[in-house]
């Protein structure tokens, strides 16, 4: 649960139980190594048995100008002793490595929360760069929070002095010092991080030792320094969890190994054609390492070649896979039509980001749903799935492979920047529990009337015929073919028939997938909050809280976006009203209205940031209060605090000039 309470003062500590969960945000310059720090803190937290969710948030520029607000990189983690499904609404603790990081992030901090800053970075120049007129450590700008400022730069330099590093290199160890302090604060073990540093700097042992020294120094500082007030060691109990082996996994990694598992379950070699694009590249990077699983990765010359090569590989008998983000998916559109027309299996992954055009490359959004379901020329139906969390992406990838190979069709799997980058604990599945679905290839020689490549099975799927098979030579292509023979045929009745067959084949996928369940709550509730994709966490928590308050609300989370689950229409009609939160301007809402004529209402957010639990809770309350018209569509008042909703720093500045 993400209702983090703020850290306790000594007086409060006696009166209140230990908090269930805590939200910590590390923020610094993009060169300060905050993602690394956050990643290692995540590892230590997972090893301590907490449930957790993370939210890495970094600028699009690789190295934005140092010290500026738009160069700020942040990593938020929510961890606790209960189920954690979001990265948390507001941090309890903010660690800010420079004035710009403080400026951009501090307004998100809970009232009374703790700020830890490196006072060594708060000089006149850095303050000016961040747009501060005065020094917030000296005036009352931070009065709402507890502030702990000490010279982390200086303390780091002292701790690594014995290693004779240059000033610049020595200061690079700041993030490890800070991590050491954070590990002390939450009673986390340093062992795994020491191992990691030794492995990372195996070729430069003095760097490894310097970083370890900084880590230890930060930890010791917490332990020994006589710090007044806010800083205090906390212990968060391990989260109750199903017994078993656990690891952390990001969405990109879960998809990658899910694809490998899917290909193995289908008894197929896998061919992955990709082209670098944020935030999808991580999938290409992961898969490039799994050679022993029969995976070929091909970094193509462009997005079109990436999908075209995957289609070629599918034709030749491999599982073709391609992956991109919105702009690249747009380029692949024509080739998707070819895969639909030639009825070849193919998996297409879209790690969605803010759009249109280049949009917000490093920010998350769910605005490619129309593109996935409708975005091709001609009547070009394609199954579409959406993963709801990093761990869920593993099963979704397997499901995508199953549908592609069993129905001989391209399948699109939607994730987003949040799922791709975020990490969560994952109970390692027992692979023996997965039912294999081996692909079938036609091998028996043609009969009297020739090869007939367009004969269909009961799923309306074609047989897969691999080149190299004697006696089954045939030609496929993007031109309309006659069913059965596969000969070119432009005749009107044939095109009508083939269009219907392609539609029915894809609609038929629903017969082989589970019925839609109510994720939380009951069928027939007053209100259903219907979601898809990465909004799962905030919706689930918001519905849970609302139900605890006695509200009659249910959560329905849809994985199969196209075709929709066969019982979804009936299920939706059982609720009095429906709200659909999504990070776009209401795309799934439109799909549901179109398919079922239900009065689904939108709750939308396109700020590049995930929903906060509180935003959805408020929408639930409003909907159940009989809000006239019930239109919860995005307007400014509905979005979370504009000035706290960090986009690139410049925006925050523009919106809150009073903070200068």
């Amino acid at each position: 649960m993400a209702t983090a309470v703020h850290l306790l003062t000594p007086e409060e500590a006696g009166a209140h139980p230990t908090p269930e969960s805590i939200v910590v945000r590390f923020a610094g310059d993009s060169g300060d190594g905050m993602q690394l720090t956050g990643g290692q803190f995540t590892l230590a937290t997972a090893l301590a048995g907490n449930d957790l969710a993370t939210f890495p948030d970094f600028p699009a520029e690789i190295r934005a100008p140092q010290g500026t607000t738009f160069g700020v990189s942040a990593f938020q983690i929510n961890f606790g002793s209960t189920d954690i499904e979001t990265a948390g609404d507001a941090p309890d603790v903010l660690i800010a490595m420079n004035p710009a990081a403080l400026k951009v992030n501090v307004s998100d901090l809970k009232p009374g929360g703790l700020v830890i800053v490196d006072s060594g970075e708060f000089n006149a120049r850095a303050l000016a760069k961040a747009g501060y007129d005065g020094n917030p450590l000296e005036d009352d700008a931070l009065a709402r929070w507890q502030v702990l400022s000490f010279n982390i730069s200086q303390l780091t330099l002292e701790s690594v002095k014995p290693f004779g590093l240059g000033n610049k290199e020595a200061l690079r160890c700041k993030n490890m010092w800070t991590l050491g302090l954070a590990l002390w604060m939450f009673d986390r073990d340093r062992g795994a991080i020491v191992d990691w540093l030794r492995a990372k700097f195996a070729k430069m042992p003095e760097l490894a030792e310097a970083n370890i020294a900084a880590l230890n120094a930060g930890h010791a500082y917490g332990e020994t320094a006589e710090l007044a007030g806010p800083i205090k060691q906390h212990s968060i109990a391990a989260a109750p969890a199903e017994p078993g082996l656990y690891r952390t996994v990001t969405g990109a990694e879960a998809i990658s190994i899910g694809l490998v598992a899917g290909a193995q379950l289908a008894s197929l070699p896998m061919f992955f054609g990709g082209y670098p694009i944020t935030p999808a590249s991580a999938i290409l990077h992961h898969l490039a390492r799994y050679k022993e699983y029969g995976v070929i990765t091909f970094q193509a010359e462009d997005e079109i070649a990436a999908i075209a090569s995957a289609i070629g590989a599918s034709f030749a008998g491999s599982l073709g896979v391609t992956s991109s983000s919105g702009p690249g998916i747009a380029l692949k559109g024509e080739a998707m039509g070819l895969a639909i027309m030639t009825e070849l299996p193919l998996v297409i992954i879209n790690s969605q980001r803010g759009g249109p055009s280049t949009g917000l490359p490093t920010k998350t959004e769910q605005s490619d749903l129309y593109q996935a379901v409708y975005g091709r020329n001609g009547d070009a139906p394609m199954p579409v799935l959406a993963a709801r969390s990093p761990a869920d992406a593993f099963d979704c990838a397997i499901e995508a492979v199953r549908i592609a190979t069993q129905y001989m069709t391209p399948v699109m799997l939607l994730t987003d920047g949040y799922i791709a980058n975020a990490a969560e604990p994952w109970r390692v599945p027992d692979m023996a529990g997965y039912q294999p679905f081996p692909a079938r290839f036609r091998a028996e020689p043609a009969g009297e009337d020739g090869v007939r490549p367009y004969d269909r099975d009961r799923n309306l799927a074609l047989d897969w015929i691999k080149p190299g098979t004697p006696g089954l030579m045939h030609r496929i292509g993007g031109i309309e073919k006659r069913d059965g023979t596969g000969n070119l045929d432009y005749s009107p009745d044939n095109h009508q028939h083939m269009t219907n067959v392609r539609r029915d084949k894809v609609l038929g996928v629903a017969a082989g997938t589970p019925e839609q369940e109510v994720t939380l709550g009951e069928r027939g509730a007053k209100l259903a909050v219907v979601g898809w994709g990465s909004t799962f966490g905030p919706i689930h928590q918001a519905v849970r809280r609302a139900r605890r308050r006695g509200l009659d609300v249910a959560h329905v989370h849809v994985r199969h976006i196209w075709p929709l689950p066969r019982n979804l229409g009936d299920l939706l009609r059982s609720f009095d009203s429906i709200v659909v939160p999504e990070m776009n301007t209401g795309q799934f809402k439109t799909l549901l209205r179109d398919q079922y004529l239900v009065d689904a209402k939108p709750l939308t957010k396109v700020s590049g940031q995930p929903f906060k639990i509180a935003e959805i809770e408020a929408a639930i309350a409003e909907a159940l209060a009989g809000h006239p018209g019930g239109n919860l569509a995005a307007d400014d008042t509905q979005l979370p605090g504009k000035d706290s909703d960090y986009d690139d720093g410049r925006r925050a500045e523009a919106l809150s000039p009073q903070s200068r």
Binding site: G273, A308, L338, I479
Partner: protein, 341 residues
Amino acid sequence: MNDMTKLTAKDFATDQEVRWCPGCGDYAVLKAVQRTLPEIGARPENTVFVSGIGCSSRFPYYMETYGFHTIHGRAPAVATGVKLANPQLDVWIITGDGDALSIGGNHTLHVLRRNLDCQILLFNNEIYGLTKGQYSPTSREGTRSPSTPFGSVDRPANACAFALGSGARFVARGIDVHKNLPDVLKAAHAHRGAAFVEIYQNCVVYNDDVFASFTDKARAPTAQLWLRHGEPLLFAGGTRGLALDVGTLGLKVAEVAEGDWQAAGVLRHDVRNRTLAHLLAEMPFGDFPMALGTLYDDPAPTFDSALLEQNAAVAAGKKPDLQALVSRGQSWMVEKQPRVE
């Protein structure tokens, strides 16, 4: 069919009605390919023709092999996936001047640069036939067409020079109706790696006789120079040849008196000489003859073999183990009940 069966051109022809305009040069190329395949020992089941879009890209439908008629310009990319997924297949790419040099220029560049083991037959008719006659990237300046009613003003691309510039290791030229075309195709097939063949193909409907200045029987002896490795670069019945112009570092036409080509300074063709290949590809026709046959043939490691060898080397000694795959990284055990404080 077993390996002893002797195949003929007929075995490579489908029952589909060929739908090119009567008199189109594509017919001659189709016949040449169907004749060549049995001679090089091709097996229909191991042969794949991949094409893009355009008149020539209908080609796979007429070949009794595996075939894939893909989308405009993307045949090299599809072929790359086919070949990497099954390197045993003999992959032929059929494309045209618009398909390969305009919409698909990027893929042509990269398939040549990577050196995928395949044959690329570019049917150059200097026009967009299928879309009814617009000028193409190889059309000469001043070409009048529906989209350039007052004549085109942009300079044409030179297909062979483009191929060489992209790093091709085999570059050849042929003519649709010329008897030497099967020999050119055989040389391309014998080359391991990407073999690029430009075929001058007459479009009778929209660009008739555009190559007549060198394909005409009467003009052929003075206008065509057929290249043969190790042989002098002679044409016009041996009375003229190509010599090095030291002043311009280019080629010049030298008169050969009484067959003494050495005295005239005529060069010998060397298919491994990349500089010579560039000079031959770029010779302006008119002042010079048209260089035909194999301009360049110098094999290098292929992309498919390099990639698959690396994959095999990395995979060597490792067992695919799904349970190990999902358990990678740092993990921890949750015993029965979590600790509660």
